[in-house]
Amino acid sequence: MNDAASVDAAPAARKWSRRFAALGQFGISLLPGIVLLVFWQWASGRLIKEIYVSKPTAIAARLYELFASGEIIPHLITTGQELVLGYVIGVAGGVIGGYALGRSPRLARIFEPYVMAFYGIPKIALAPLFIIWFGIGIGSKVALASIMVFFLVFYNVFSGVRSVDRELVNLTLVMGANQRQLTWHVYLPAASPYIILGMRMAIPYSVIGVIVGEFTSSIQGLGLFIHEASSTYDPAGVFAGIILLLGFVLIANFLAGRLERRLLRWKNPTTQPPSDI
């Protein structure tokens, strides 16, 4: 609302105060995490047995141990590869598929229900097929993760493309655009809020895909590590593994946030979102 409230201040001071505010923001956003950790530490052994939830100090110690011994490194690398590959393949497929069906209502009417139905299949029930087709190595996890990612990206791109303003499309056609140009100059930018939303939501699901995959079959990876820790009553190990997964998620989310700000710069170039409630 008060876009211009701070406009009077001298540029240098503004810059500093902005940095300061950003720092404050960051501090505030850490707060719930800290509260959670403290509560966890307190509740563990009091409200709920440590064997089920471990506790932050134990997890920190376990994490240190895992890195100091290097034991976790190969798991980290494997899972990292699976995540990146699965995510990239899924996003690429989702964008292409969603775009095609979004542009062609006819194709959409035919195939959309199948895509939806395919997602209702509990993939765990298809474990044998996955093993036969993709093996027990990195392949089956990449496949699962990219399927998960595909779905979310697919639906978002599909909806995004369908929501593009017809009049802009028509205008661009009159201007002389061919289909490829229409895609690049109109459909993709106009659908970008949806595409980015899909890419963001897909981040944790790529992790879920990889973990489900590793639970189903694997030789190495964080999911396997977590599963092993869980069946050998090593709760600190379980949560240490989870924390590492969260690391992946948060890094990817941070990168996606930057991409979003970059691509959607045009939406609110100088001003802040309105009417904070």
Binding site: L171, V174, M175, P189
Partner: protein
């Protein structure tokens, strides 16, 4: 009757009325045409179907009855041979002004250097120099509209469809732009279909003024304006013969006012 660039032939248009399931007749047998290099102004009451006519010429809407011919060929798909300035500015919100104006050239694979020069000239011509890096939502309503005009004129189409291009502009900017448009269309020999609400503007710019009636819209008159060119757009009434031409249009128009009646 040969050699018409655009020919509207017995155009009729019905739209489904929401709710009732009935149909509303918007255009009812409109026929007129534009010869090469002609400047045709279309005037008519709000909601009578002027924008609808332009959309047909651009191939974005197929008429219910009749057809639109472009160089003798019936338009049955998007017409890429025309330039279209829509009623709402419709700039691409994700492109800066510069990128917006540049787009038609990019679509035509004009080399970057030439593009830059042409874009700079077009932006300058609509008085937006200095705003190249602004996104549309940072521009005023009139500036957006001017951007939209620049985007069409930049690639010099043979046929230009303009839907109330100068409606949102103040008197001075409007006159400058009217003058520019007159020069440009004369130089390039472009055919222009120009929807406007301003009778003075129609008369001072056009070779013919097409007047439509209330919905369901019929052609009330198609009046030739035979004033010598170039015309003075800054003081229209000083053009010799202007007053008679104006009165000819105005008298047709006036008949429409009386329908709704001055209270």
């Amino acid at each position: 009757m040969t050699g018409q660039v655009l020919a509207f032939d017995g155009i009729g248009q019905d739209f489904a009325t929401p709710g009732s399931g009935g149909r509303i007749r918007v255009l009812d047998g409109i026929s007129f045409d534009a010869e090469p290099g002609q400047f045709v102004a279309v005037i008519g009451p709000s909601g009578c179907g002027k924008s609808t006519l332009l959309q047909m010429a651009a191939g974005l809407l197929m008429p219910t009855r009749g057809n639109v011919k472009h160089h003798g060929r019936t338009i049955d798909s998007v017409n890429q041979a025309v330039g279209f300035v829509p009623q709402q500015a419709q700039l691409f919100p994700w492109k800066t002004l510069q990128e917006n104006v540049e787009l038609p050239l990019v679509l035509r694979s004009v080399p970057a250097e030439q593009r830059r020069a042409q874009v700079a000239k077009a932006i300058e011509a609509v008085g937006l120099k200095g705003f190249e890096n602004y996104y549309p939502n940072q521009l005023s309503g009139g500036m957006q509209k001017r951007g939209s005009i620049a985007r069409t004129l930049v690639y010099r189409p043979d046929v230009i469809l303009m839907d109330e291009p100068f409606g949102a502009l103040d008197a001075q900017t409007r006159m400058v732009m009217q003058n520019d448009l007159q020069t440009l269309s004369a130089e390039a020999g472009a055919t222009v279909i120009f929807v406007t609400h301003d009778i003075t503007e129609a008369v001072v710019l056009a070779d013919r003024v097409v007047i439509l009636s209330q919905r369901p819209s019929r052609l009330l008159a198609n009046i030739a304006i035979d004033l010598p060119r170039p015309r003075d757009v800054f003081e229209p009434f000083k053009n010799p013969g202007f007053e008679q031409a104006y009165d000819a249009v105005w008298s047709v128009f006036r008949s429409q006012i009386d329908i709704r009646g001055a209270h």
